[in-house]
Amino acid sequence: MNQLQNFTKGFFKENAVFTLLLGMCPTLGVTSSAINGLGMGLATTFVLIMSNIVVSLVKDLIPDKVRIPAFIVIIASFVTVVELLMQAYLPALFESLGLFIPLIVVNCVVLGRAEAFASKNNFVSSLIDGAGMGLGFAMALTMLGAVREFFGSGKMFDMVIFPEQYGMLVFVLAPGAFIALGYLIALIDKLKKA
């Protein structure tokens, strides 16, 4: 597999949300608007890239039996770094994502890539894999957020497209997240086969 494929697989072929169905908690929880989805996606991307890099660098030093706790500590550290940085420099975004940032620690995508990819591959491949998977995740979250924001409140990235009272409130609430995600998965699946 060349590096280009390694990068692009995260977008469709092995997209964390649409194909692997990993990381559903933040996916359904934060995507009430496109900007929230993008923010969460990019935060996860950062953690994913950094943890993939570090895991690939130290993989030979970590004894097999303690690799999972070691990975968790590495991931948790980067999540805390993101949380602190966001709180300091992007307080508005931190407010809307709030609770979900610490939950990146238990996002299966991050630990999954550390275990399945970074612990077996070199530094460069792991970096590219992290970037591809992360941006694919961010793309999926942004798409889902955009769909829900559009149908739910008639906006797209906070730009008003139609008046809010005609929006279908259900899309902003939790059930709408499931419905929108279901249709998006079906659509992406169709496109992948075509």
């Binding site: 030979d60 070691a70 805390t80 409130l169």
Partner: protein, 196 residues
């Protein structure tokens, strides 16, 4: 490089090093971000004060004092003065009656107790419903607005409960909680005789 064996010494050592490095890094980041985080919080507070009691020229955050409400909440009161005259107070109040947890509101009261303005500081209400609080209770020319109301004469409950204020459509619980927070601020401030 050969893979490290899973012996006890190696495992303990590996985890020790990783946690130590992680701890050190976090300590550093914490130190670097401590001030910007405090500044961001303060800026938000100041913006909220400016919004709810405009036109002061003192520094309310320096003259802040605390009042304890009947419910046992410690409320911060920021006196806003122009020259020597007290324009009003910005009170950071809260309630735990929200639909999902605490709601924190900054409310500006004139010295006589009537409401100047308010600003939502923190809430976990349903997006698209309860989260409309920030705009709902200031729509003019309707039964929605609480701006300019004097809780001494007006009934500070939603119209469903016989009050003077229309609740947010489909978010009565959030509306009740919001009014509860305002009422707590008013009662506490009045009980203390509106001093300063």
């Amino acid at each position: 490089m050969a893979k490290t064996e899973s012996t006890l010494v190696n495992m303990v050592l590996a985890l020790l090093i990783i946690t130590a490095v992680a701890g050190g890094t976090l300590g550093m980041v914490y130190k670097v971000t401590k001030e910007p985080i405090a500044a961001a919080k303060l800026a938000k507070q100041q913006k909220a004060i400016l919004e709810v009691v405009p036109g002061f020229d003192n520094s309310p955050t320096d003259e802040v004092y605390e009042l304890t409400s009947q419910e046992g909440y410690v409320l911060k009161v920021f006196p806003c003065k122009k020259g020597e005259e007290l324009l009003g107070v910005a009170i950071s109040t809260k309630t735990d009656k929200g639909f999902s947890g605490e709601i924190k509101v900054m409310v500006g009261l004139k010295p006589d107790g009537s409401i100047i303005n308010y600003s939502i500081l923190e809430h976990k209400e349903t997006p698209g419903l309860g989260s409309k609080m920030q705009d709902w209770f200031r729509v003019e020319g309707s039964k929605q607005t609480i701006l300019g109301m004097d809780p001494a004469t007006a009934k500070m409950t939603v119209s469903k409960d016989g009050g003077d204020i229309d609740a947010i459509t489909a978010a009565t619980i959030s509306s009740r909680a919001f009014l509860d927070a305002i009422t707590i601020a008013y009662n506490t401030y009045k009980k203390e005789g509106g001093k300063k």
